[in-house]
C-alpha cells in the first residue's frame, strides 16, 4: 500500500465530515417541495433529494473538497456580509430624503492600497490551501488497479489493464427501460437514468487509476462521491485516481456534451470488499473463457437472429430506433438499399468503419459474432426479409 502523506492526513478528518454530511442531507429532505412529481428517496452514492451542498463522498479527496468548499464559502460569506453591511447601512442612512448632505471625499490612497492588499492576501491564502489538493489529485502513481474507461456515443467501455482482474473488459450501458421511461415522460425510481447493465467493479481501499480516452467525441468520466471528473478525449489518454473507503454503489454521469444521448450514459461504480472482488474476478474470468465465441463456427439463421436482436437493442436501437425507422438525420435501416443489398460487404464495411463523418460510429470494438449477428438481424428484421445470413467468419475476413 502506497499512500501519499496528503492522502493520509485527509483521511483522519473523514468521520467528522461524514457526520456533517448527514446533517446536510437531512436539510435537503426538509425543503422538499409539495409539488414533487413522484416519491423519490436519496440515492446512497448518488444525489440526495434536493441536495444543497457538495457530496461528502466516499474518498478522502471528496471529503477534502467538501471541507475546502465549505471554508471558501465561509470566507465569501463573511466578506459578503461585510461589504453589503456597509452598503445597506449607507443606503438606509445616507439618503437625500433624510436630509443627508453629501460628503466631498473621492479618494484615499491609504484606503485604496489596503483594500487592494487585503483581497490579494485572501486569494493567495485560498490558493495555497488548494495547492496541496491539486498536487494530490494529479498523483496517479503506484496504483493497485488500472482501468481504462473509454467513452463511446453513448456508453462507457471498461478494460482492466493492470492489477487483479487484468483482461476483463465490458461495455456499460444505461438500462434501456430507463431510456424508454425518459421518452415516455414517465420517470420512476431512485436510480432513474443511473442504472446500467454492467457496473464498473472495484475493490475497497485500493488505489484505482482510471485512464480515460474516447472513441468518437469528448466525454467526461465523473463520480462526485469520489471527487473525480476527467474528460475522455479521443486520440489522447488522461488519468485520475481514487481510493474508495467504503463498499457500496456510487453514481455519476457523463459531464461533457457528447451529442444527443449525452444525458443517457451514466457511470455506476460498485465498490466491493477485497474478498467479494476476488470472487467477482473469478466469475468474470470463467465467463470470458466460456463466452469466447469461435469465429469459425457456422451459426444458424435463428441463432444469429436471436443474438442479433440483443446486440441491436443494446447498441443500435438508440439511434436507428427499435423499429429500424431512424429519426431526423439518422438513416432508417428498414427498407434501406444498403441493408437489402446482395453484396453483404457494403453493410459490413459501414458497421466496421462508420459512415457519415462519424455520425454513424465504427463498431469495431464488438466481436465478430456480435457484428455478424446484428448484420444478419437487420437484413431479416421488419420488412427486410432478405433471407441473407452473415457468418462471424465473414466479419473476421472483412476486418483484414
Amino acid at each position: 500500500m502506497n499512500r501519499s502523506g496528503a492522502d493520509r492526513t485527509m483521511k483522519t478528518k473523514s468521520t467528522a465530515a461524514l457526520a456533517r454530511a448527514r446533517g446536510a442531507c437531512g436539510l435537503g429532505m426538509a425543503v422538499a417541495t409539495p409539488w414533487a412529481l413522484a416519491k423519490v428517496n436519496d440515492l446512497p452514492g448518488g444525489p440526495a433529494v434536493n441536495q444543497l451542498n457538495l457530496t461528502p463522498g466516499a474518498t478522502a479527496m471528496s471529503l477534502h473538497l467538501y471541507d475546502l468548499h465549505n471554508i471558501v464559502m465561509l470566507v465569501c460569506l463573511v466578506i459578503f456580509i461585510g461589504v453589503f453591511g456597509v452598503m445597506f447601512y449607507s443606503i438606509v442612512k445616507h439618503r437625500k430624503s433624510l436630509g443627508y448632505k453629501p460628503a466631498s471625499f473621492h479618494e484615499s490612497v491609504v484606503v485604496e492600497v489596503l483594500w487592494t492588499l487585503a483581497p490579494f492576501l485572501i486569494v493567495v491564502t485560498l490558493g495555497a490551501m488548494a495547492t496541496r489538493a491539486v498536487v494530490a489529485q494529479k498523483d496517479t502513481s503506484n496504483a493497485d488497479l488500472t482501468i481504462k474507461a473509454t467513452g463511446y456515443q453513448w456508453k462507457w467501455g471498461y478494460d482492466y489493464l493492470n492489477g487483479e482482474g487484468q483482461g476483463i473488459q465490458f461495455l456499460s450501458t444505461l438500462d434501456p427501460a430507463h431510456r424508454a421511461m425518459s421518452d415516455a415522460g414517465t420517470p420512476e425510481g431512485d436510480d432513474y437514468l443511473l442504472k446500467v447493465d454492467n457496473p464498473l467493479v472495484v475493490p475497497v481501499d485500493k488505489k484505482i487509476r482510471i485512464v480515460t480516452t474516447a472513441n468518437d467525441v469528448i466525454h467526461a468520466w465523473m463520480v462526485p462521491a469520489f471527487g473525480v471528473k476527467q474528460d475522455a478525449i479521443p486520440g489522447f489518454v488522461r488519468d485520475i485516481w481514487f481510493r474508495a473507503e467504503r463498499t457500496g454503489d456510487f453514481y455519476g454521469q457523463c459531464a461533457e456534451l457528447c451529442g444527443k444521448e449525452h444525458a443517457y450514459m451514466p457511470i455506476h461504480v460498485k465498490v466491493l470488499s477485497q474478498e467479494d472482488y476476488s470472487k467477482w474476478v473469478e466469475g468474470e474470468m470463467k465467463k470470458i473463457a466460456a463466452a469466447a465465441d469461435d469465429p469459425t463456427r457456422q451459426w444458424t439463421l435463428d441463432e444469429l437472429m436471436a443474438r442479433g436482436e440483443k446486440v441491436y437493442a443494446a447498441n443500435c436501437a438508440v439511434c436507428h430506433r427499435p423499429d429500424g425507422k431512424g429519426a431526423m438525420p439518422i438513416k432508417p435501416l428498414d427498407g434501406s438499399a444498403i441493408v437489402r443489398d446482395e453484396d453483404k460487404n457494403k453493410q459490413i464495411a459501414i458497421v466496421l468503419n462508420g459512415a457519415a463523418g462519424g455520425a454513424m460510429p465504427s463498431w469495431k470494438q464488438l466481436s465478430d459474432t456480435e457484428l455478424a449477428a446484428v448484420v444478419t438481424y437487420t437484413k431479416n428484421a421488419w420488412s427486410n426479409k432478405t433471407g441473407q445470413m452473415v457468418q462471424p467468419a465473414e466479419l473476421l475476413a472483412a476486418r483484414k
Binding site: L43, S90, F120, Y192, I233
Partner: protein, 539 residues
C-alpha cells in the same frame, strides 16, 4: 442652453440634403444616434429570440422525463440560446450604447468612421438570419454547445457551417465597431477632455475595444479551422487525422475568457457613472477604477485554461491558471469597494436607474464569489460542467451585463427620447426582474453542487424540485422583459409621457447633459469649450 445649438434653424436647413427620410434614414444611416438605436433594437430582438429558446429549454426541464422535445432538439436549443445571447444580444447592445453615448460624452460630433459604422451594423442582419435560419436546414441547428467543441462539431450538419459564417460576420462587425470606438475616443475628444478626465463609460469601452481587437481574430481562426476540418480534409482538431481536440479548447478559450470581460467591462463603466449621479458625490477612486479596468483586461488574457481544468493539465498548468484566475478577484474587488465608497456618506435617492445599479452590485458580487470558488482548481473538478457553472455565468451575464444595461436605458433613455419613463413601472420592472432572476438562477447552485451536469435534456428524479422552481422563475423573468418592452420602451419611443428636462438627474455630470432632451440629430458639430473638469460646456 448649451452652445452647441446656436443656430437651430440654420442647422436644419444646412443638413436637409444629408438627412434622408423614411427607410433610407435607417438603411443608409451614418448618424451615430440612429445607428445606436438600430443596434439597441436589434439586440433587444435577439434577446427575445434567445429568451424564447431559454423558455423552451426550461419547459422541457420543468419535469424529469422528455415531455416536449427530443434530446437532439434540446441540444440545439441550448447551443443557439448561448450563441444568440452572447453574439446577438449582449455584445451588439453594448455597441449600441457606445454609439449613442460615447460621442455625446466626449464632445465629438459623431463616430470617427460613419460609413463603417453603418456597415458594422448591417452585417449583423445576415448573420442573425443565418443563426435563426439554421433551425430550418436538414438536421436542424448546431447542437455542439455554444463553445462548439471539436470533434463534436465534425458530426454536425450544414447548420454548423451557417453558424461559422454567421460568427465570422458578427466578428467582423465587432472588430469594425471596436476600431471605430478606439479612433473616436483617441482622436475626437473635445479640447480639454483629457483621457484622465474622461467619463468611465468611454474609458471601459476603450479598454474593451482593445480586447475585442486582440481576441476576435483568434475566434475567427478557431472556427475557420473547424470549417476546414469539416470540408477540406484538414485535421487541426480531428483526432482521427492526428489533430488535437484540446487545442481547439485552448484557442477557443483564449478568445472566450477575454470575451466574458468584453461583456462586463462596459457594464462597469455604466455603473461607475450611475452610482455617483444618484449619490450626488464624485466617483470614489476614479484613477484606481481606470487602472483596475486595465488590470482586469490584462489578467483576462492569461487565465483561459481555468475553463479546462478537467481536460487533464499538468500540475504546474493547473496551479498557474488557478492563481492567475483568483488574482482577478483583486481588481474586481477594488471596483466594488469603490462603488460602495462612492455611496458612503452620499445623499442618495433611488430612482429606477439607481435601483438597477444597486441591484447590479448585489447580484454581480454573488456571481463574482461563485467565480472565485471554481477558480480553485480542485473544487472546480467537482463543479465543472454542472449547473453551478450555469448559475455562475448567468449571475455575471444577466445580473451583470443585462442589469447594467437596464440601468442605462432608464438613465439615458430620457436623453434619447426626450420622455421620462414611468417611475412606478420602472420600479415594478426592477423588483419583478430581480426577484424572478434569483428564483431562476439561485437554485441552480444547489443542482450543481449535487452534481447535475449541464446540457442535460433529462435528469435523475432527485433534481426535480429545484428544476421546477427554476422553470417557474424563468417564465416570470421572461414575462418581466416583455413588460419592459411594451410598458416602458414602447411608450418612450412613441413620446408618451412627461417631457424630460435637459438634465433629469440632479447629481448627474457629463457632457451628455449639456445638450437638450431629446438629443438633437447633430450635436457638438463644432468642438465645445469645456470647463476645467471637462464636465460642462462653457462656450
Amino acid at each position: 442652453m448649451s452652445a452647441v445649438l446656436e443656430h437651430p434653424g440654420d442647422h436644419a436647413h444646412d443638413h436637409a440634403h444629408a438627412q434622408p427620410q423614411g427607410w433610407r434614414r435607417w438603411v443608409f444611416a451614418t448618424n451615430h444616434k440612429d445607428i445606436g438605436t438600430l443596434y439597441l433594437l436589434f439586440s433587444f430582438t435577439m434577446l427575445m429570440i434567445g429568451g424564447v429558446l431559454a423558455l423552451l429549454i426550461r419547459t422541457e426541464l420543468f419535469q424529469p422525463g422528455l415531455q416536449f422535445v427530443n434530446p437532439e432538439m434540446f441540444n440545439q436549443f441550448t447551443t443557439m440560446h448561448g450563441l444568440i445571447m452572447v453574439f446577438g444580444a449582449i455584445m451588439p447592445a453594448f455597441v449600441g450604447f457606445a454609439n449613442w453615448m460615447i460621442p455625446l460624452q466626449i464632445g465629438a460630433s459623431d463616430m470617427a468612421f460613419a460609413r463603417m459604422n453603418n456597415l458594422s451594423f448591417w452585417l449583423l442582419i445576415p448573420s442573425a438570419i443565418m443563426f435563426v435560419g439554421s433551425f430550418f436546414v436538414p438536421g436542424g441547428a448546431t447542437a455542439a454547445g455554444w463553445t462548439l467543441y471539436a470533434p463534436l462539431t465534425l458530426q454536425m450538419g450544414p447548420a454548423m457551417d451557417m453558424t461559422i459564417f454567421a460568427m465570422h460576420l458578427f466578428g467582423a462587425s465587432s472588430i469594425m465597431g471596436a476600431i471605430n470606438i478606439i479612433v473616436t475616443v483617441l482622436n475626437m475628444r473635445a479640447p480639454g477632455m483629457t483621457l484622465m478626465k474622461m467619463p468611465m463609460f468611454p474609458w471601459t469601452w476603450l479598454i474593451t475595444a482593445y480586447l475585442l481587437i486582440a481576441v476576435i481574430p483568434v475566434l475567427a481562426g478557431a472556427i475557420t479551422m473547424t470549417l476546414t476540418d469539416r470540408h477540406f480534409g484538414t485535421s487541426f482538431f480531428n483526432p482521427a487525422g492526428g489533430g488535437d481536440p484540446i487545442m481547439y479548447q485552448h484557442i477557443f478559450w483564449f478568445f472566450g475568457h477575454p470575451e466574458v470581460y468584453i461583456m462586463i467591462l462596459p457594464a462597469f463603466g455604466m455603473i461607475s457613472q450611475i452610482v455617483p449621479a444618484f449619490a450626488r458625490k464624485k466617483l470614489f477612486g476614479y484613477t484606481s477604477m481606470v487602472y483596475a479596468t486595465a488590470s482586469i483586461a490584462i489578467l483576462s488574457m492569461i487565465v483561459w485554461a481555468h475553463h479546462m481544468f478537467t481536460t487533464g493539465m499538468p500540475v504546474t498548468g493547473q496551479l498557474f491558471f488557478m492563481y492567475a484566475t483568483m488574482l482577478i478577484a483583486v481588481p474586481t474587488g477594488v471596483k466594488v469597494f469603490n462603488w460602495v465608497a462612492t455611496m458612503w456618506r452620499g445623499s442618495m435617492t433611488f430612482e429606477t436607474p439607481m435601483l438597477w445599479a444597486v441591484g447590479f452590485i448585489f447580484v454581480f458580487v454573488i456571481g463574482g464569489f461563485t467565480g472565485v470558488i471554481p477558480a480553485m482548481a480542485p473544487i472546480d473538478i467537482q463543479l465543472q460542467d454542472t449547473y453551478y457553472i450555469v448559475a455562475h455565468f448567468h449571475y455575471v451575464l444577466v445580473a451583470g451585463s443585462l442589469f447594467a444595461m437596464f440601468a442605462s436605458v432608464y438613465y439615458w433613455g430620457p436623453k434619447w427620447t426626450g420622455v421620462m419613463y414611468s417611475e412606478a413601472r420602472g420600479k415594478f420592472h426592477f423588483w419583478g426582474s430581480i426577484i424572478t432572476f434569483n428564483i431562476t438562477f439561485f437554485p441552480m447552485h444547489f443542482l450543481g453542487l449535487a452534481g447535475m451536469p449541464r446540457r442535460y435534456a433529462d435528469y435523475p428524479m432527485q433534481f426535480a424540485d429545484f428544476n421546477a422552481i427554476v422553470s417557474i422563475g424563468a417564465l416570470g423573468f421572461g414575462l418581466m422583459q416583455v413588460y419592459f418592452f411594451f410598458f416602458i420602451v414602447l411608450p418612450m419611443m412613441q413620446g408618451k409621457g412627461e417631457r424630460a428636462p435637459q438634465k433629469p438627474w440632479e447629481g448627474a455630470e457629463g457632457l451628455e447633459w449639456e445638450v437638450p432632451s431629446p438629443a438633437p440629430w447633430h450635436t457638438f458639430e463644432n468642438p465645445p469649450k469645456l470647463d476645467p473638469t471637462a464636465t460642462r460646456v462653457i462656450g
